[in-house]
Chain length 314, copies 2
């Protein structure tokens, strides 16, 4: 008789096939990969817990597995990178059985396949607790170097991909497409100065870029692209507040020179929109200009992208 | 006011310093490493859950963090590798506070320092659940290639490092030293055919080597090195049974040619003993010869290295 997790591991192995750069995937003490010459190795890691980052039945097991990978792919995109392999450790609830476990992994593997990435290793455990998934993704930069948070320069134009706000309410956080294609298009078109993905909310994450780059910024409230959900929200918070502080947008926030910014605006052909939302300056901290011309300080009001009782950070 | 996990992340950053091959560690969307030229990239991942892989107060927070790294270092050693960087994701119990979280990381960082490895990234979360730690370790082979489970050949001598049995009872599983130095000494002395670390118990893990290598083996019961704890156990199981089936020894099991085996026995100078426990043959499966000459089949009787209610696998 097989132990249930061996059965699961056999099933996972049947679903994935090793290919370059994975020389040896699941089944030994460690995976073996061939790292690219002259590229840096990128490593992203994120843990998702049931009740904090997803809940059932709001999420399906497939969507929980999918999200665990997607948030890591978003991190690799934010470095202007491409993913190379996926490693998954799970704590599976005993009472939900092997079929549940299979569905979690199926959701993850489907997204990996979509981006041509191999699931190259993992660790499968079960317990009398909620579902926990920790994913590690390796990658490498697409362009000459990875793009950090720390390279924004005074005068730079600030852009975001897509639209912001309401990710938890609209379930966008379970279904979003990590911005890998957009990161690649950006690298191919312009010289990026700084980039990160928006997971704590625009205001909070912009502060991370400003602190790392030792610069300030002025945002244009009217320019911040808001989702339909944020525009329609009737929960006491303004659409702008949702756009600034809701977590888990998983859009890219990036800075380029004004010349490169103009070029981007005129030449961008990807389906996902990009929007200039402000400019980097030499001041300290972040300000925001409202439609009426008022300029006010903008605190890092993003607080938590927890949807349950816990707190979380990336 | 800082969110408690930001405070924790600041503290972790103060405890570690980036150095080669880590170009950029904690603080951006992903870490950046410089992979070695002409070496394969090894990646090991393991998740440890409170109540399954450790319990409090049997373990201290420091020992829980230490173990989460140690089991991964054992995996890297088993590939005849050396570790290069550590990535840690945690689910921290809300009710235990920041000091508890610091102690978990302190135990892990202390072991990382002992082996000169950088903690290069992580993900810090908290929830109303038990402690979960998932660690990913990158590494590279020491010798010309990583050593797999699949290279054992008929005629090979089978060795183990150290002594076996009773790891959970004796708390060895919380305090063991991963066999990185021993793996290095082996690579420098002989050509290893196959290697793995013993985490499910000798009998179970030997079957993994035999299945992967498509060979059989004959063990010598009298030769299996047993810990004091296994020899003294009065729990209805024989000392041999403990040596064969207890999990979490985290010793190395390896196969070399008879010539190389003789050389090892005569030249081995490390403090940790190595012991020849049997030989690889062309049969199917595994047999064991007892002191009285009886030869019997040996099932993969290692069952679980869970110490709580769950099951676990590596």
């Amino acid at each position: 008789m097989k132990r249930p997790e061996f059965e699961l591991i056999d099933w996972i192995r049947s679903q994935v096939r090793d290919r370059e750069p994975v020389l040896l995937g699941i089944g030994d003490d460690a995976a073996c990969l061939r790292p690219a010459v002259d590229r840096e190795l990128l490593v992203a890691i994120d843990m998702l817990m049931e009740g904090v980052h997803f809940t059932f039945p709001d999420a399906t097991p497939e969507l929980a597995g999918r999200k665990a990978l997607a948030v890591n792919l978003s991190d690799i995109a934010a470095m202007a990178g491409e993913p190379t392999a996926v490693f998954v450790s799970v704590a599976l609830p005993n009472d939900r059985g092997v079929e549940f476990a299979r569905r979690v992994h199926a959701g993850l593997i489907e997204l990996a396949d979509e981006f041509g990435i191999v699931v190259a290793g993992g660790d499968t455990n079960s317990w009398n607790g909620p579902l926990v998934i920790s994913v590690t993704v390796t990658g490498q930069q697409i362009g000459p170097r990875p793009i950090l948070r720390s390279g924004a320069m005074p005068g730079d134009w600030l852009f975001v991909t897509g639209k912001l706000g309401g990710s938890l309410g609209s379930k966008h956080h379970l279904t979003f497409t990590p911005r890998l294609a957009e990161a690649r298009a950006l690298v191919n078109m312009v010289e990026l100065h700084a980039m990160m993905d928006i997971s704590d909310g625009l205001a909070a994450d912009l502060h991370h870029v400003l602190n790392a780059s030792r610069v300030g910024a002025l945002l244009e409230a009217e320019e911040i692209p808001l989702t339909e959900w944020a525009r329609a929200a009737r929960d006491g918070h303004s659409p702008l507040r949702h756009g600034l502080s809701d977590g888990e947008d998983f859009e890219l926030l990036f800075a380029v020179s004004p010349d490169q910014g103009k070029q981007l605006v005129s030449q961008w052909t990807e389906t996902t929109p990009i929007t200039k939302i402000g400019e980097i300056n030499r001041s300290e901290g972040c300000k925001i200009r409202y439609a009426d011309g008022r300029i006010e300080p903008l605190d890092p009001i993003g607080w938590t992208h927890s949807i349950g009782e816990g707190i979380a950070s990336d």
